[in-house]
């Protein structure tokens, strides 16, 4: 069983569209994250949720909106996609806000054309 699963794995879409990426973890972790990996492989945190509560909201455009229906799921919705949004988006989870032992999903490669 995959510990942290993301769908879709690849997403190609046109500028201006709205898209969502879904993430689910079966590790029983309380905290989930979204990270963005750019073309230079740099990983930067975007959001973090602990038990469905938003605890980290980095400087991310308002077009990005995370949603956590329960502590096992964290989805990312992106409105009005721009070329610069092209990247690999990783979902991760960890024990309650401990920061240790992150488990990452395999990523969603978003390409905006």
């Amino acid at each position: 069983d995959t510990a942290v699963s993301q769908t879709p794995k690849y997403l190609v879409t046109q500028m201006g569209n709205d898209k969502s990426i879904k993430c689910e973890q079966n590790l029983g972790h309380d905290t989930m994250y979204w990270y963005k990996q750019d073309s230079k492989k740099f990983l930067k945190i975007m959001f973090s949720y602990n038990n469905k509560e938003l605890i980290i909201n980095e400087t991310v455009p308002n077009r990005f909106s995370p949603k956590s229906p329960d502590k096992a799921h964290l989805n990312l919705h992106i409105n009005s996609l721009e070329l610069g949004d092209s990247a690999v988006y990783f979902c991760a989870s960890s024990r309650a806000q401990a920061g240790d032992g992150y488990t990452f999903g395999s990523g969603t490669r978003l390409t905006v054309v």
Binding site: V4, F42, L43, S48, Q97, A98, G99, D100, Y102, F104
Partner: protein, 115 residues
């Protein structure tokens, strides 16, 4: 502001050699320092981690050396193998429940081990 600086950006090592990747941090509140390994098309996976109360931690061929006064830590891969070829990230965080759990990553090092 880049809080964790990693070098080198890329590294080529012969099979059986020692790979060394260095990181430096700025925030003295950091007290958890993990290393992640990422293969193409996969997410980063935790390799080894250290807390600042020890100066070295070894797991198999992987060793972290930690220098608190210099605010530096490094990953040593002994007897490097072609299967070790991957991108390695150092990271830092303020550890423990009640903190945000936010990991700050270094820029990554692409390691190639030649047969």
């Amino acid at each position: 502001q880049q809080q964790v600086k990693q070098s080198p950006q890329s590294l080529i090592v012969q099979k059986g050699g020692i790979s060394i990747i260095n990181c430096a941090y700025e925030n003295t509140a950091f007290d958890y320092f993990p290393w992640y390994q990422q293969f193409p098309g996969k997410g980063p996976a935790l390799l080894i981690a250290i807390r600042p109360d020890v100066s070295e931690k070894k797991e198999g061929r992987f060793t972290i050396s930690f220098n608190k006064s210099a605010k530096q830590f490094s990953l040593h891969i002994m007897d490097s193998q072609p299967g070790d070829s991957a991108t390695y990230f150092c990271a830092a965080a303020v550890f423990g429940s009640g903190n945000t759990g936010k990991l700050i990553f270094g820029q990554g090092t692409t390691l190639q081990v030649k047969p």
